[in-house]
C-alpha cells in the first residue's frame, strides 16, 4: 500500500538557513566583490543583484585522496582501434582523453574555475550598507518604509475589547435571542391564552388544577426564556483595522563638487564613488529620490551626471558660489517641509581665502537648518587649508554635519562608513 502526499504547499525555502550560513562564512569574499562592483556601476544603477565569484580552492572541503603518480589500472568503454600491448602517449592534461582523467578528482571541480553565484539586490545592498544607519531618519511626514496608517476593513469575529462594534454585536445578540427562544415564546403565548380563556370563565366552573398547571408552565417557560443570555461571546463583533503602509516620501540629494583645475580626474573618480554610495544608501530609504549635481570653480552651475563627472574646467575656486546655488535651488524647488534634503560636498580643499568664512555663514544660516545631513569630504593627501578649518568649527557645533579626508580610493568606503556610522557609537564616543 502506498501513501501519496502532496507536499507542494510545504515551505520551499528549506535551504535558506544553509544558504545564509554559506553567505556568512564567505562574508569577506562577498564584501570584496560588492565593493568592487560599486566602482563599476553608474550612480543610479541599483536594480540588480551581483554575481559573486569565489576562488574554488577557498571554498573546497578537503578530504584524503590520491595524488598523481604510482601505478593504476583503468577501464574505459568505447574502444575503437586499441589492441592489447599498444603503447599510447600520455594525454596532456584534459580529462576527456584516453585515460589521464582521474575518476575521483574530476568531479570535485574542474581545476581552477571560480565558484560563481548570484546574490539578490537586497543582499547586495545589505552587504554594502552593513551596520550603517541613516542619520535623522525621522522626518515630518514619514518614517521611512516603517510608517503605517490604520484603515477600516469591515467587521470580524475576533478582536480586542477596545474594538467592539456595539451596534453589530447587539444586532447579533438580538437575532440569536429571537431564534433561540422562538419555540418557548410560542408555547408561552399559547399557555397564556389558555389561562386567560380559563380565567374568563365563571369562578365556579374554573378548573383550579388546570389553572395551576398552566401557571406553572408559564413560570417555567419564562424562566427558560430568561436563561438565554442577553449577550453572549459569540455575538461580539469587532471592527477590523488593517495596517497600510503610508506612502514614503521624497528625498533630494545635492552633490557639490569642485571642478577647478586643481581637481584631477582621479580625484573626481573618488568623489564619484562617494556620491554613488550616498545615492544607493538614500535609495534604500526613500521611494523617490532626486539628485541635483552642482559643480563649481569660480562660479557654480547645475549640470547632468555625465557632465558633472567627466567634463574638465580650469580656474580658481570659490566654494560659496556652489553653496549659494544650493540654497537657491532648495528654496525654489525643494521646500524642506516636503523634501528630505541631503548634501554632499567634495573638494580638494582649495578655496579663495576670503571666501571660507562666507561658506560657513551660508551653511550655518541657510543650509544646515533645512537639511537632514550634510557631509563634506576633502580629497587631498596634503595639509588642510582654510576651508577645512572653517568647517571644523561647524562640525563642533552641528550634529548632522560630518567631514572627512580621503587620500586614495581605498579610503572611500571606510570613510563613508564612518560618516554614517551608527549613531549609538557616535554618542558613546
Amino acid at each position: 500500500m502506498s501513501y501519496i502526499v502532496d507536499r507542494r504547499l510545504n515551505g520551499k525555502n528549506k535551504s535558506t538557513v544553509n544558504r545564509q550560513r554559506f553567505l556568512r562564512r564567505y562574508r569577506k569574499h562577498i564584501k570584496k566583490a560588492v565593493d568592487e562592483a560599486v566602482t563599476k556601476r553608474s550612480i543610479t544603477d541599483l536594480d540588480s543583484g551581483e554575481s559573486i565569484s569565489i576562488p574554488r580552492r577557498d571554498i573546497s572541503e578537503p578530504f584524503f585522496h590520491h595524488g598523481k603518480g604510482g601505478k593504476r589500472d583503468m577501464v574505459h568503454p568505447g574502444n575503437k582501434e586499441f589492441v592489447t600491448g599498444d603503447h599510447i602517449q600520455r594525454p596532456q592534461g584534459g580529462s576527456g582523453g584516453g585515460g589521464g582523467g582521474d575518476g575521483d578528482a574530476s568531479d570535485s571541480g574542474e581545476g581552477i574555475d571560480d565558484f560563481v553565484f548570484q546574490i539578490s539586490q537586497d543582499e547586495f545592498l545589505d552587504f554594502l550598507f552593513e551596520d550603517l544607519e541613516l542619520p535623522n531618519l525621522v522626518k515630518r511626514q514619514l518614517q521611512g518604509i516603517e510608517s503605517f496608517k490604520y484603515v477600516r476593513a469591515g467587521v470580524v469575529n475576533e478582536g480586542n475589547p477596545a474594538k467592539i462594534n456595539v451596534v453589530r454585536s447587539m444586532r447579533q445578540a438580538t437575532s440569536r435571542r429571537i431564534a433561540l427562544t422562538a419555540s418557548s415564546r410560542r408555547r408561552l403565548r399559547e399557555a397564556e391564552e389558555k389561562l386567560a380563556a380559563l380565567q374568563e370563565q365563571d369562578p365556579v366552573l374554573r378548573d383550579k388544577r388546570k389553572e395551576e398547571e398552566l401557571e406553572l408552565e408559564i413560570a417555567k417557560l419564562k424562566r427558560r426564556i430568561n436563561k438565554i443570555p442577553f449577550v453572549d461571546t459569540i455575538d461580539l463583533r469587532y471592527n477590523l483595522h488593517l495596517k497600510q503602509p503610508k506612502p514614503t516620501s521624497k528625498a533630494v540629494m545635492f552633490c557639490l563638487m569642485d571642478v577647478s583645475g586643481s581637481m584631477n580626474q582621479a580625484m573626481k573618480d573618488m568623489a564619484k564613488r562617494f556620491f554613488i554610495l550616498l545615492y544607493m544608501f538614500l535609495k534604500r530609504n526613500y521611494e523617490k529620490i532626486e539628485v541635483v549635481f552642482i559643480r563649481h570653480h569660480t562660479s557654480a552651475k547645475e549640470v547632468d551626471e555625465e557632465e558633472f563627472f567627466y567634463s574638465r574646467e580650469t580656474g580658481g575656486t570659490i566654494v560659496s558660489s556652489a553653496l549659494k546655488m544650493m540654497r537657491d535651488i532648495m528654496r525654489d524647488r525643494y521646500p524642506a517641509d516636503e523634501w528630505n534634503i541631503y548634501g554632499a560636498q567634495a573638494s580638494d580643499g582649495d578655496n579663495w581665502n576670503d571666501d571660507s568664512p562666507t561658506c560657513r555663514e551660508i551653511l550655518i544660516k541657510d543650509i544646515l537648518p533645512q537639511v537632514q545631513y550634510y557631509s563634506y569630504i576633502e580629497i587631498n593627501p596634503r595639509r588642510h587649508q582654510a576651508l577645512w578649518r572653517e568647517y571644523e568649527t561647524i562640525e563642533a557645533t552641528v550634529e548632522h554635519f560630518a567631514m572627512q579626508q580621503i587620500s586614495d580610493p581605498g579610503d572611500i568606503y571606510p570613510v563613508f562608513r564612518e560618516l554614517f556610522q551608527r549613531k549609538e557609537t557616535k554618542r558613546a564616543s
Binding site: I4, S60, F63, D73, G78, G100, G103
Partner: protein, 521 residues
C-alpha cells in the same frame, strides 16, 4: 495481444491517476516477487527538489554552510539551464519516501514510481549491505535527533564553534565508517536516553586513558610498551570520539552524529552500479509488462523509451560527454544480461556461468541483488558479452613508464583481466587511500600517528591531506602525524602541530625525483 484499456491517455497527471498507476505497477511488481517497504510518494515542486538536492538526500538535515554551498551552486546551474533536475529522489527509510516532481508528465511519474518505489525500494530492503549497515525504520528519527541536537549545541556554544567541529568531522567523513563490524541499530528514543549516560561514561573512559598520576606498582619498562591502539584502527572518527583527550562531551556527540550519517550512506557508495542497475532494470521490465497487458498507450511507451535510452546511454571514452562509466548503463546491461543468460544461454555463457545458465532468472537476479556489492557483483557477473558491447579496454598508467599501456581489450584473453580491473575500480577501499590510526603516544606528548599504506605506489594528494590534518588537529588538539608507508618504510611524514604543518620527505633522492618529473611530462 490483449485489448488495450489504458489507465490514462493524456500527459497530465492527477492524484487519482498516480494512485491507479501505483496500484498497477505494485501489482505487477508483486507478481515478479519484488519485496518492498511500504511507499510514501510525495509530490514536490522544483524549488523543493532543489532544496532536497542540497541536503545530500537527507530529508531532514542539520544546518551547515556546505549544504548551502551545494544549494547555491545547484540553483545557479538550474537557473541558467545548465542542469535539469533529477526526476526523483528516494530515501532509504521505512516507509520508503520517494519525491516526485510536479513538472513531470504522467509517463515520467509512472517511470519514477516503477524506478524508485519498486526498484530502489526493494534493493534497500533486500541488499545485504543495507540490511547490515542501515536501519530504515529509525533513520528519519535519528536525523531529527541529530538536527535538534546540533541546533541545541549552536544555541549553547555558538554557531561558529559548532561549525568548526562539523567542518573537521566532514573532512574525515569517509574515514568514519566501520567496514567490518556490524553497527548497533540507532533510534531516536534510545539515542536521547543514552546520550547523557554516554557523555559521562565517555569522559570517564578518556580520563582513565590520559591519567597522568603515576600508579603504584606500575613498573612496566618503557621498551616493552605496546602501541595504543594495539591494532591499527580504520574508523578515524570513531577513534576520535572515544579517545580524543580534550574534546567536550557535546563535541564527541557531534563527531558521533557525523560518523553515524557517514555509516548510513556507506552502502549507497558501495552499490551504485547495482542499485541503479536494479532500479533501471525493473522500471524497464515493469512498464513493458504493463504495455503487454494493454494498460499503457503507445505514446506512453515512446516517451518512456526515449527517456530510458538516454538514461542508459554510455558515451565512449573519447566523447565530449564522457565522464566515467555510467552506472545506470553498466548496471542495467548487466542485470538484463543475467536474465538473458538464465533464459537463453549461449555456449559461451554455459562455459562462463555454468551454475546460472538456464536457471530461474527471477531467483538468480534476486540472489545477485541481495548478496553482492558493486565490486563483487562485477567480479561475479560481468559477462564477455557485456564487455564486448561496451568495448571495454584496460589501461595501465605507471609513472615509471613513458607511455600508457593497453593491458587488455574485449577479446578472449582479455575478458578476465578486464573483469578483474573493473571490479577493482569499484572497490572503495582501493580508491580511497588506506589510512589508519597507527599509534598514540599515550605517555609522552599525546601525539597521534596515522599511517597511509600505499598501494601501487600511489601517493596522497598533499595539499588536501595537509588541510585534513589541520582539521584532525582541531579535534585531537595535540600533534598529528601522518606517515606514508610503502613496503614497510616510511616515505613521507606530514606533521601538524600547534604551529602548523611540517613536512619531511624521505621518498627519493632529488635526481630520481627530477627524472620522474621529466617522465611525467
Amino acid at each position: 495481444m490483449t485489448e488495450r484499456t489504458p489507465i490514462s491517455t493524456g500527459s497530465d497527471w492527477t492524484f487519482e491517476l498516480i494512485q491507479d498507476y501505483d496500484r498497477e505497477i505494485g501489482r505487477v511488481a508483486r507478481d515478479f516477487g519484488l519485496d518492498t517497504y511500504p511507499n510514501q510518494i510525495e509530490i514536490i515542486s522544483a524549488e523543493q527538489m532543489l532544496d532536497a538536492y542540497s541536503s545530500v538526500g537527507m530529508p531532514v538535515g542539520y544546518s551547515h554552510w556546505s549544504y548551502g554551498k551545494h544549494f547555491v551552486s545547484n540553483e545557479q546551474h538550474y537557473r541558467r539551464g545548465q542542469m535539469g533536475l533529477a526526476y526523483e529522489i528516494v530515501i532509504n527509510s521505512n516507509p520508503c519516501i520517494a519525491y516526485l516532481m510536479e513538472e513531470n508528465t504522467m509517463t515520467m511519474q509512472a517511470l519514477v514510481i516503477a524506478h524508485a518505489c519498486y526498484g530502489h525500494n526493494s534493493f534497500f530492503k533486500g541488499n545485504y549491505l543495507f540490511r547490515t549497515w542501515t536501519d530504515a525504520t529509525s533513520i528519519i528519527d535519528y536525523l531529527v535527533f541529530a538536527k535538534n541536537y546540533i541546533m541545541k549545541c549552536e544555541e549553547r556554544y555558538g554557531v561558529d564553534e559548532v561549525e568548526a567541529i562539523l567542518d573537521s568531522c566532514h573532512a574525515l567523513m569517509n574515514y568514519g565508517v566501520d567496514r567490518y563490524k556490524r553497527p548497533y541499530p540507532i533510534s531516536a528514543e534510545e539515542e536521547k536516553q543514552r546520550q547523557r549516560e554516554r557523555e559521562e561514561y565517555l569522559q570517564k573512559q578518556v580520563n582513565e586513558l590520559w591519567k597522568t598520576i603515576p600508579q603504584l606498582g606500575d613498573k612496566a619498562d618503557h621498551h616493552d610498551v605496546k602501541r595504543y591502539p594495539e591494532e591499527p584502527q580504520e574508523n578515524l572518527l570513531y577513534f576520535i570520539e572515544k579517545n580524543a583527550p580534550l574534546l567536550e562531551p557535546w563535541q564527541r556527540e557531534v563527531v558521533r552524529i557525523v560518523r553515524k550519517i557517514a555509516q548510513y550512506f556507506y552502502p549507497q557508495r558501495q552499490t551504485q552500479v547495482m542499485n541503479e542497475g536494479w532500479a533501471t532494470f525493473w522500471h524497464y521490465t515493469l512498464l513493458n509488462k504493463l504495455y503487454e497487458e494493454g494498460k499503457v498507450t503507445d505514446g506512453f511507451m515512446l516517451e518512456f523509451l526515449q527517456s530510458h535510452t538516454s538514461v542508459v546511454y554510455q558515451p565512449p571514452f573519447d566523447s565530449r560527454f564522457y565522464s566515467g562509466i555510467n552506472p545506470y548503463a553498466l548496471g542495467f546491461n548487466m542485470m538484463s544480461d543475467i536474465r538473458r543468460i538464465c533464459e537463453n544461454p549461449t555456449k559461451e555463457d554455459k562455459k562462463w556461468f555454468p551454475d546460472i545458465a538456464g536457471s530461474d532468472w527471477k531467483e538468480t537476479l534476486t540472489f545477485a541483488m541481495q548478496n553482492f556489492k558493486d565490486e563483487s557483483f562485477v567480479q561475479q557477473f560481468l559477462s564477455p558479452k557485456v564487455i564486448r558491447e561496451f568495448k571495454f579496454f584496460s589501461i595501465l598508467d605507471d609513472d615509471k613508464e613513458r607511455d600508457l599501456h593497453i593491458t587488455a581489450i574485449h577479446d578472449d584473453p582479455g575478458y578476465r583481466d578486464i573483469r578483474e580491473a573493473l571490479s577493482k575500480q569499484y572497490n572503495l577501499s582501493m580508491n580511497e587511500p588506506n589510512i589508519q590510526v597507527y599509534n598514540v603516544n599515550v605517555r609522552g606528548d599525546r601525539s597521534i600517528t596515522l599511517r597511509h599504506v600505499r598501494h601501487n605506489r600511489r601517493p596522497l594528494e598533499t595539499e588536501s591531506a595537509e588541510e585534513v590534518l589541520r582539521h584532525l588537529h582541531r579535534l585531537w588538539k595535540f600533534d598529528v602525524i601522518l606517515e606514508s608507508v610503502q613496503d614497510n618504510t616510511v616515505m613521507d611524514t606530514i606533521k601538524c602541530g600547534p604551529n602548523g604543518i611540517e613536512k619531511k620527505s624521505t621518498e627519493k633522492d632529488e635526481e630520481e625525483e627530477e627524472l620522474s618529473l621529466i617522465q611525467r611530462v
